[in-house]
């Protein structure tokens, strides 16, 4: 039983008093920055990095990892309570989580988010322990054609995300695609739509758009209401009801599986995992119209998915030595300074370090649950804050968060601009979430389309010759048909009724 021996080794490292302490510190700091909008784990970890040079590598990694997955827990809190995604991965949590809060079910939503995250964290830990090497190999099957196909599937999914009219969802997604065009084109080095503004040369930041469209726009919409709707803190009991549990549990399981797989893909992220899970839940729901109006599954699925994805994104780095995203690149840099550079031989060369970090993730998830559940009652009280205090606080936190990304005042102005755009979108009855998905996926899709054609020397059949790419494209086509057909039918029905 290699696995048991490995886990034993891992836990013996993870539960030493020092490592437990730093795991707790990491989880606490992570929760905190997760709650603060815009202040992400990347900036925090880079700030804390110099402090860790004096630690044992395993202790340092345990703490840094704790910050990362802790942030995924914390990010959902503001998303649910005040419709403000604390982390990019909690954007979708705002859709149904905040609606639940408006109906007095904030406590239930927070509890489901925490429990779903815990479940996902535990399963993902086990997943990493059992299946790291084969999963990492799967990631390597993904080349440019597969990424293109995956993004195409995601974009069709973006339309599914929206609960309103399909034409509006498509329009908003296309707007997102156009915004994604801004910046320097990877393949040619040409700047597009930058108007010689240096801050635009690398494109607009995701956080800038998300904060503007969600945080600022929501405040603007609320401001014009003469009578503020008072939020009821709790309707019924604070905890989820039996029915809510029953609906959340399977969604959490599906979200965990999906998130674990997407996290492994290089370039996949917790945010993509959350988006996909939401689309999946909505697609398989018996009554999709409940989504966007406080569906429990819309909280449980994505919250599980983003936490699972955050954890499995360690796999490519720890098993192949390839960072899956910017944050993992930072972790890898840190590991090099500690003198333990990751590589494919990492697990066999540093078993105590590898298994120690993996097992600490489970320990950290237990801690996060213990930290978060009692806090729920406290967070819910925040809803009693009058708007005149809540709104300026949110606005200030958004500004700090965006400024902290690149220390750029221009980006804060961009955020305010997107706030106005978000306000207009809401006024026209358009949902902002598909815009964000288009914004994220569009540039990746274009980049990989052109790269695939560059590598195939211009042969378009490459997308269908490769099995994974062909499968994903067929999936996208089917989903597209499924999206179009019902609305097609509905318009026809309406036409009949008018006769």
């Amino acid at each position: 039983m290699d696995l048991l021996a490995n886990l034993w080794l891992g836990f013996s490292v993870a539960v030493t008093p020092t490592n437990l302490l730093f795991c707790l510190i990491g989880a606490l700091v992570g929760t905190l920055i997760g709650v603060l909008p815009g202040i992400g784990p990347l900036a925090t970890i880079s700030m804390l990095l110099p402090l860790t040079y004096h630690f044992e590598p395993v202790t340092a990694l345990i703490m840094l990892a704790g910050i990362y997955y802790g942030a995924q827990y914390g990010g959902s809190t503001t998303a649910i309570l005040v419709n403000l995604p604390g982390e990019t991965s909690s954007v979708v949590t705002t859709l149904d989580g905040h609606q639940m809060a408006r109906q007095g079910r904030a406590g239930a939503a927070l509890a489901i988010a925490a429990l779903g995250s815990f479940f996902a964290g535990s399963v993902a830990t086990l997943f990493i322990a059992v299946a790291s090497p084969p999963l990492a190999e799967l990631g390597l099957q993904f080349q440019a054609p597969e990424y293109f196909a995956l993004m195409a599937l995601g974009l069709v999914g973006a339309v599914v995300l929206a609960s309103g009219a399909i034409d509006k969802a498509i329009g908003v997604t296309v707007l997102g695609l156009l915004l994604g065009m801004i910046g320097t084109d990877v393949n040619s080095g040409t700047e597009r739509f930058t108007f010689r503004v240096p801050e635009l040369s690398d494109g607009i930041g995701f956080v800038v758009i998300a904060m503007g469209l969600f945080g600022v726009a929501d405040i603007l919409v609320n401001l014009e209401k003469a009578e503020m709707p008072r939020l009821t803190a709790v309707v019924g009991r604070l905890w989820p009801s039996k029915d809510e549990f029953r609906r959340a549990a399977p969604a959490a399981v599906r979200g965990t599986l999906l998130g674990s797989l997407i996290g492994v893909l290089p370039g996949g992220s917790a945010a993509l995992a959350a988006f996909s899970s939401y689309a999946l839940e909505k697609k398989i729901a018996r009554d999709p119209t409940r989504f966007g109006r406080g569906a429990v599954e819309g909280v449980a699925g994505p919250e599980s998915a983003n936490n699972a994805g955050a954890q499995t994104s360690f796999i490519p780095m720890l098993t192949l030595g390839i960072p899956a995203n910017a944050l993992m690149a930072l972790m890898m840099g840190a590991m090099q300074i500690y003198g333990v550079a990751p590589s494919p031989r990492f697990i066999s060369e540093q078993p105590a370090l590898f298994w120690g970090v993996i097992c600490s993730m489970w320990v950290g998830n237990v801690m996060l649950l213990v930290i978060n559940l009692p806090l729920i009652g406290l967070w819910v009280q925040m809803l009693r804050l009058p708007y005149r205090l809540l709104h300026p606080t949110i606005l200030l936190l958004c500004c700090i968060g965006v400024y902290s990304l690149n220390s750029s005042a221009t980006e804060v102005l961009f955020m305010l601009g997107f706030g106005v755009l978000g306000y207009l979108l809401l006024k026209f009855g358009c949902e902002p979430a598909p815009l964000l998905l288009g914004f994220v996926l569009g540039p990746l899709m274009e980049e990989n389309l052109r790269r695939a054609l560059l590598v195939s020397r211009g042969d378009p059949w490459v997308f269908l010759q490769r099995p994974i790419s062909a499968g994903l494209l067929i999936g996208a086509a089917l989903l597209l048909v499924a999206v179009i057909l019902p609305s097609f039918r509905r318009t026809r029905e309406q036409a009949f009724q008018e006769e």
């Binding site: 240096p198 030595g321 606080t393």
Partner: protein
Amino acid sequence: MSVTRRCAVAGAVLAVSAALSGASAQEWPKERPIQIIGGFPTGAGTDIFARLLAEPLGRVLGQTIVVDNRSGAGGNIGSEFVARAKPDGYTFLIGTAGTHAINATLYKQLNFDVVRDFEPVALLVDVPNVLIVNPKTLPEIKSCADLLAAAKKEPGKFNYASTGNGASTHLAGAQFAQAANVDIVHVPYRGTPPAMNAMMSGEAQIMFQQSIPIMGQLKAGTFRPLGISTAQRVAALPDVPTIAEACNLPGWESTTWYALFVPKGTPEPIVRRVNEEANKILRDPEFERKTKDMGLVPLPSSRDEFRQVQARDIDKWRDRVRKSGAQVD
């Protein structure tokens, strides 16, 4: 509530870092922390190295040093920020041969001048690019000579990955292809992680990659190093020949350095002091070991030597950029 908590955390962090950096001799007014601006994202080589340097440098100067990345436009956003900063000794830039030599030609319109607007402080390290292939995708290629023979036999077959248009990894590849007269196709990626993934999956077969992120891979044998882009072999990879030796291209080299700059007009004593301290740190055995582990070559040098290196490299890269056809606008 969140705000107070954040302050508490920030306070704790500052207290700990102050304790770690310690307080020593009073040097220049300590009104606020010194900042080292980086022009590349957090986690990039410049960021990692700046943080490594900031700790001992802060200790000897008795100052808190903060690394602040203002990334974008190939490092130009950070450079422009420092070019316009007050020359009071509180703002430094970790520049590279990319930001302070290559970009002068690569970008047609810069809002600042890489020579006139900066005072060079200290040359820090040479950053070699390693020519790598993946032994799983190209098992038969064991040396640069093998690679050149294979590439000549099938022109246009191999792809070389880079970390972006106009990045040193791209220019080294273009410069190599031209010198060796082989037809290999450039495939740019958005930074190191996707480029390395492409090398792993076999989408690209050849790459000039900076040593920092691949030291572990080279030791594990995932990537086979065929040559190193420096003029001499480097201590961390003693068995890897130079490109000049391995590919029979006498005189070929292509490296980028990291260096400290300040805005023009910064008081002379401050510049001199930081140059001296940086050189001392670069010669410190413990620090030297850390830089060598990352495959870097410490370059302690006088300010005049640094000035000459920069002037020479601006000319050298102008020629290489033009020949490669790379441009960004």
